[in-house]
């Protein structure tokens, strides 16, 4: 490499490193805040690297309700919000996984039928779905709350799952539709001629080929249902039933904000998603890319 190329490369990497720092700084800040004792959080000038390391925030989040009741505290006073963290975490996992399973399976099957069978409105459905996705979810949330109330589903995890399926399905459907359009029908016909049944063709030929698209749709759904605040806020009210996003807001209680718990929860919310991304990013790029180009 010439000196000029070296200079260019150094400049490029410098920019990339700076951008990465800017993007990651809130996460890093959240992590260090979560391991500081309470009085150090408000220290001025602030410290980035904690003077004293403590995991008290994490231990109180993981302690759970049982610890509180077994601690012999008066049953008259309610447990602190941090005692519900494990419930919230589990709720979010159930809701996110449930939504992802339903939304991905339904959108995959629907998109496949939209690209492979001829029926009236076949062209309109994916575009209408996309338009549906563009409507802000705040418009859906109150009518949907009324429906959930009629169904006596409010304050249940099922109501959240159904709500998230409603808002993620259109985009997943459109994504999968664009993806299946790029899968040539000849490979399915070749498998039929090879002697496979329709079902076998779907499972052995179509699904593996569409895998990157399915992964992309699933991750999209997972992110939306994991991160959503609005539906959880409107549909749920019992402490035990809240999803993480709504639950952690109880660390604000009017008189003070427990930043240590807040930041520890944020870190714990981010870690599963970050790990998932790291594992699946190859598929994700392939999925979104294929959908975009071929659709």
């Amino acid at each position: 490499m010439t000196a000029k190329e070296w200079a260019g490369r150094i400049a490029l990497y410098t920019i990339l490193i700076l951008v990465t720092i800017v993007v990651c700084f809130p996460l890093i800040w959240a992590f260090f805040t979560s391991v500081k004792p309470k009085d150090e959080i408000f220290l001025w000038p602030p410290t980035l690297w904690p003077n004293v390391w403590t995991f008290e925030n994490y231990t109180s989040l993981f302690a759970g309700k049982q610890a509180y009741f077994q601690g012999g505290s008066a049953a008259s006073s309610a447990p602190p919000p941090s005692a519900f963290f494990l419930d919230w975490f589990l709720n979010s996992v159930i809701v996110a996984v449930g939504t992802t399973l339903i939304s991905t399976i339904v959108s995959t099957l629907a998109a496949y039928s939209l690209t492979r069978f001829r029926f009236p409105g076949q062209r309109a459905v994916p575009y209408l779905a996309l338009v549906g996705y563009m409507v802000p979810s705040i418009i859906f949330v109150f009518p949907m709350f009324l429906v959930m109330a009629d169904l006596r589903l409010t304050d249940t995890l099922l109501s959240l799952i159904l709500g998230y399926v409603c808002i993620t399905l259109p985009f997943s459907l459109w994504l999968m539709w664009a993806f299946f359009r790029g899968v040539p029908i000849e490979i399915e016909e070749a498998a039929l001629v090879d002697g496979a049944s329709r079902l076998r063709v779907f499972f052995e030929i179509v699904l593996p080929t569409a895998w990157p698209g399915i992964v992309a749709a699933a991750i999209f759904t997972l992110i939306v249902s994991w991160n959503d605040y609005l539906f959880g806020r409107v549909f749920m009210n019992t402490m035990e039933n809240l999803p993480l996003t709504v639950g952690v807001m109880h660390f604000f209680d009017g008189t003070h904000v427990d930043w240590g718990l807040m930041m520890a929860s944020s870190v714990l919310m981010t870690v599963p998603m970050a790990i998932l991304f790291a594992l699946l990013q190859r598929h994700l790029v392939a999925g979104f890319g294929a959908g975009a180009v071929k659709g």
């Binding site: 000849e186 490979i187 030929i205």
Partner: protein, 364 residues
């Protein structure tokens, strides 16, 4: 196993793609469906494969009616234009998929795949995915997938159209070889007349959903039954000129651009045909440049000269807008706008009725 089509038709909505075909593909023959885009040849192949359902009529394989059977139950193999390899499987799995579906055990399967791969010289590629293969290699994998199952009927849909010219020429020979080794009935779809002529035992020339002529390549080339076949087969295409039957010295002659051409001996025209308008067809290879004073030649001026390698094409304008192309040796020179005369090889002339488009009955 022979393939017999009985009154077979297919429409998509109001668009009739195949019109009441009756055709028999004889056992172990290599038959080509040849025609321009949209003539229904691929649709016909897909009907035989079972990938489309006929609107009417029947398909028989070796006397047994099959048009109600799924593709899986017809024991056919098909090579697609796009090769249609399974993108997520490696080459070995691609070739062996048909065997796997039929429940063959893995060791036996890999043995069979190995044999086919060896024949096709792709043994070193078995662990690769299709996207890591060149066009020619994909083609071979697609062939291997078809061959490994020992099908009764071998269907090919323009399998060479995505290859470069050189590879196409090689693969033509190889495909014909495979056909002979497999001892199956092969049905091959193409719009390339060179492929049809070089590879086939029989050619079905199709246009607008109708088989125009079903005969050997020689027959289709030498004795086209109508204007479409005559114009479609042959390169450069056949010259067509409007002629009128007249009487000259007591015998019928054909009047072309003011010249009287004797009626070719293979056609019988009588006094009754006098005044009848016909279409004279002659291939450029059967047109030669003649002396200007030759009484049987048609004079004109050179309109265009093109060298096509060992031959030269000379277009002579014998009347306004009526040009006759002659294919001559490259050594023959002609200057544009110079006077020239063309003469025909009588035995190679074709006559057609302009109304019906059909060839006139021949004596030979």
């Amino acid at each position: 196993m022979d393939v017999r089509l009985e009154n077979l038709s297919k429409s998509f909505g109001s668009n009739s793609v195949l019109k009441a075909l009756d055709l028999t593909f004889p056992e172990r023959k290599f038959v080509t469906l040849l025609g321009p885009s949209g003539c229904g040849k691929t649709t016909l192949l897909r009907l035989i494969a079972g990938l489309e359902r006929a609107s009417g009529g029947a398909i028989h394989f070796g006397g047994e009616r099959v048009d109600h059977l799924a593709p899986a139950d017809r024991n056919i193999a098909m090579v697609f234009q796009s090769y249609a390899l399974y993108p997520t499987m490696d080459v070995a799995a691609n070739i062996g998929y048909g065997l796997k579906v039929r429940g063959m055990a893995a060791p036996e399967r890999s043995e069979k795949v190995g044999i086919v791969a060896k024949v096709l010289e792709i043994g070193h590629l078995l662990a690769r995915k299709p996207r890591a293969l060149s066009g020619g290699q994909r083609q071979r994998v697609a062939l291997g997938r078809a061959m490994v199952r020992k099908p009764d009927i071998f269907l090919m849909d323009e399998p060479l159209s995505n290859l470069d010219a050189k590879l196409r020429a090689t693969m033509r020979g190889e495909l014909k070889r495979f056909h002979l080794d497999l001892e199956t009935t092969s049905i091959y779809v193409t719009h390339d007349q060179l492929e049809a002529m070089t590879m086939s035992d029989l050619v079905a020339v199709m246009n607008e959903g109708v088989v125009q002529q079903f005969a050997t390549p020689e027959e289709v080339y030498d004795r086209p039954v109508n204007l479409f076949v005559a114009g479609f087969i042959g390169s450069p295409p056949m010259n067509f000129c409007d002629v009128t039957v007249a009487e000259h010295g007591g015998v019928p002659v054909l009047m072309l651009a003011g010249r009287a051409i004797p009626v070719p001996p293979q056609f019988t025209l009588t006094r009754a045909d006098e005044g009848r308008r016909l279409v004279l067809g002659v291939r450029p290879q059967d047109v030669r440049l003649a002396d200007l004073d030759d009484p049987t030649a048609v004079p004109g001026t050179v309109w265009m000269v093109e060298l096509i390698g060992s031959e030269r094409l000379i277009e002579v304008e014998v009347a306004p807008k009526l040009r006759i192309t002659s294919e001559v040796k490259a050594e023959v020179r002609a200057a544009i706008d110079a006077p020239a005369a063309v003469a025909f090889d009588d035995a190679k002339l074709h006559l057609f009725d302009p109304g019906t488009g059909l060839a006139l009955p021949r004596a030979d």
